[in-house]
Symmetry: C2
Subunit: 210 residues, 2 copies
DNA sequence: GACCTTTCTGACTCGCCGTCAGATTTTCAG
DNA sequence: CTGAAAATCTGACGGCGAGTCAGAAAGGTC
């Protein structure tokens, strides 16, 4: 097991190259956010770090590969969310726990939304690498959610017409998508607090039956 | 008020041109589905109808304009869904009504998912034309959902921590996103029926409090 | 400071974009 | 039916970004 990073020609890269690669990734993330994936050009990324397009192709075969790398980095920030999804939301402080999860999810989303949007697009368009990364990112969270639903169904707090896996997917779907709507909703009077409270209430309801 | 369709130079177009424009739109929809928005090229669209790129630019300033037109067409198919969202889900057959709405939504989604995905991407990346089309498409459905939530809150079936507008957005979000997940979920054992039932149950719960 | 390795880039080919002048097809008055 | 006008279509072109590669530049070693 090694932490070595490789150039596209297969050689292990040194510290100067590693710094260049890092700058390229940061510039990619920045431009992805500013211009969107449809207008993301290798020329712009290279120019942004004061380098030439050829340099980009030393480290990535194409823009997708750089975005995939960013998506993998985002994955690391999703995993800790699972700590906020332990069983017991049906106790008195359940709604408060739901709120804490929603808060953490919002922070995660804010930090990575441009990359996550690109990841989801590629995954939904059938790209298997991006599908794998998304599945990996959601895995722990989904498992924790499934366990909570299964427990609720077993305790008859939730109807058995709820499939735990699908419900878990629905919860993730709701979080992701509602935050994606956020900028537009803000214009129509729904502020961040309304979103936070409503999302927490809905999650609490879906997961505990209360 | 006129149903006339215009070429980019502003002239009203005749029936031959209208047919060509229609073929271009159909080809755009087809390729959007097959290749995704990132690999959609004007050259391919023109080739697909056995014509030259210059023809495409007679009717659309760019690919976005064609996709926008397709999104407007999809909008017309969303509006009828509102008929399935009349108050009264808290009565005995409420869950069955939820299921009927989910069924109709799935049909709508299947027919337009590639276009809707593109529309949502552009809207989320800040394009105001696509935002306007999306808002317009969701307007009636959102209003109906808001009314149902407001009614539930007034009758104390739903907690007043639920903001009607945000809840309506969450419901739309859940439907859209869960269906987008569908292909991946199928691989992990969740079939269409599980999605249908789970979604109906969650909607029923979120909208009636049962 | 000569030599070797790592990293970077100028310059090139290729293909798509978007335009426009002119070719082709359709329309229709006489 | 015919010829001219209107509508529609397209070949060909300049421009720009993608991706490649040979060789230049930078850095390290003894």
């Amino acid at each position: 097991m090694s932490d070595d990073v490789f150039a596209v020609d297969g050689r292990v890269i040194g510290s100067r190259a590693l710094a260049t690669r890092r700058k390229l990734l940061d510039a990619t993330a920045k431009l992805l956010q500013e211009q969107g994936i449809l207008d993301l050009r290798v020329v712009d990324i290279s120019r942004d770090i004061g380098s030439s397009p050829a340099t980009f192709y030393q480290y990535f075969n194409d823009v997708d590969e750089a975005i995939l790398e960013l998506a993998k980095e985002a994955t690391e920030d999703e995993k800790p969310l699972v700590a906020l999804l332990q069983p017991g939301w049906n106790e008195a402080d359940g709604l408060e726990r739901a709120r804490r999860f929603v808060d953490a999810y919002m922070v995660y989303w804010d930090a990575h939304h441009a990359v996550l949007r690109a990841r989801n697009l590629k995954a939904e368009e059938g790209n298997r690498h991006f599908r794998a990364v998304r599945t990996e990112a959601n895995l722990l969270v989904m498992e924790a959610l499934q366990a909570m639903v299964a427990e609720g169904v077993a305790a008859k707090r939730l109807p058995n017409s709820l499939d735990p896996f699908t419900t878990a997917a629905a919860v993730v779907a709701m979080c992701e998508r509602l935050l994606a709507f956020q900028p537009e909703m803000a214009k129509r009077g729904a502020n961040r607090d309304a979103i936070r409270n409503t999302l927490a209430t809905l999650l609490y309801g879906a997961l505990t039956g209360h």
